[in-house]
Symmetry: C4
Subunit: 122 residues, 4 copies
Amino acid sequence: MRMDPIGKRRWAIAEGFIPKESVDESDPALRSHETVCILNAGERDAQVSITVFFTDRDPPPPHRVKVPARRTLHLRFCDIGVPRGTDYASVIESDVPIVVQHTRLDSRRAEIALLSTIAYTE
Amino acid sequence: MRMDPIGKRRWAIAEGFIPKESVDESDPALRSHETVCILNAGERDAQVSITVFFTDRDPPPPHRVKVPARRTLHLRFCDIGVPRGTDYASVIESDVPIVVQHTRLDSRRAEIALLSTIAYTE
Amino acid sequence: MRMDPIGKRRWAIAEGFIPKESVDESDPALRSHETVCILNAGERDAQVSITVFFTDRDPPPPHRVKVPARRTLHLRFCDIGVPRGTDYASVIESDVPIVVQHTRLDSRRAEIALLSTIAYTE
Amino acid sequence: MRMDPIGKRRWAIAEGFIPKESVDESDPALRSHETVCILNAGERDAQVSITVFFTDRDPPPPHRVKVPARRTLHLRFCDIGVPRGTDYASVIESDVPIVVQHTRLDSRRAEIALLSTIAYTE
């Protein structure tokens, strides 16, 4: 099975905020987090670069990650150094077409809340 | 009444995760699930193919489903073999224009959480 | 103040489901509902037509509504005859450019859940 | 590090409603609110104008704000004079490309609910 590539090379997410607290810190799946979901449906590995923007300082050097051909990667922003309790945004760039979606799980209270949106591309 | 077709033939959803647990397994409507919502507003039946991508293995053969003319189909990913508790993504392809939206209901806790987004198309 | 029109004339929402139950039926704001939010930022009134699609029957005649110039209208699907507990989708058509967003508030449990997405346009 | 601009100059959000109540008014982070998240990834400051639309009156004069180069701004609608408990919509205009996302946190009940979507652009 071979699939034509789908997606674009540049994406942006304007929202970003990882809540500081989580009711239950012991279960990683239910800890408050934000995820960038990347789909590489094509036949070539994607070299992806994630740049994080803040309200009051310049972006740090981008984080680089590989998403292999015909794979998806769901990456937590806290695992690439984004601090909790801070407004941020991000730009995701790739050398081959990818699709990007942004999701937050908020478990500051006993019950969780979720948000998600396809990222912006052009 | 006849409506001009609306939509595209190729769509992608980068997010995908069906929670394993549900507080109340007895009510199917409130069981944790993810849905691909497909609208075929045109006058010809749509032959739709859904390919699922994972983080660590090649996509299995696509799932095929028909969405009749002037109908919508809300299909649960767990009903087409996607395992729970696993990161995934999907590409939806059709022979006629369709519109695709992605929704999750998470009932791991006593209260439910929801997310939804129009899928990516080009 | 005059604003150039923004938006498109045809929109689609593939998701649609109004939960049957609400914990507290007495407060309309917190009753489970789905809303189509329409923005007409231009200088001419918009004549809008909303067609609802189901899984097992043809769409009924479209619902017509006016959105005046420089106004927004947030319309609940239950107020235009869409039944609760039923999968549906919708196409929104206008004679002038508009912007369309879709939101659900689910209050089947004690706590509410929300979803929202900009609708599909082309 | 220099990044090519990403985004557009005109955006619209058709949904808008800031819940009146919050379970806990003492914690600003958890008070019910709606946010417009703006990313200016380019090298020039953005002069941004936000126009708010209502259901029953003309839009008031737009709110103006600067988003510096290589910065993000997450602005609460209640901080620019949008009343609580009122349906509204918004158009966001900039002199340089920006990316816009819309988020609501609803804490009328003990647990919070979230929604988010990339805004509409053309």
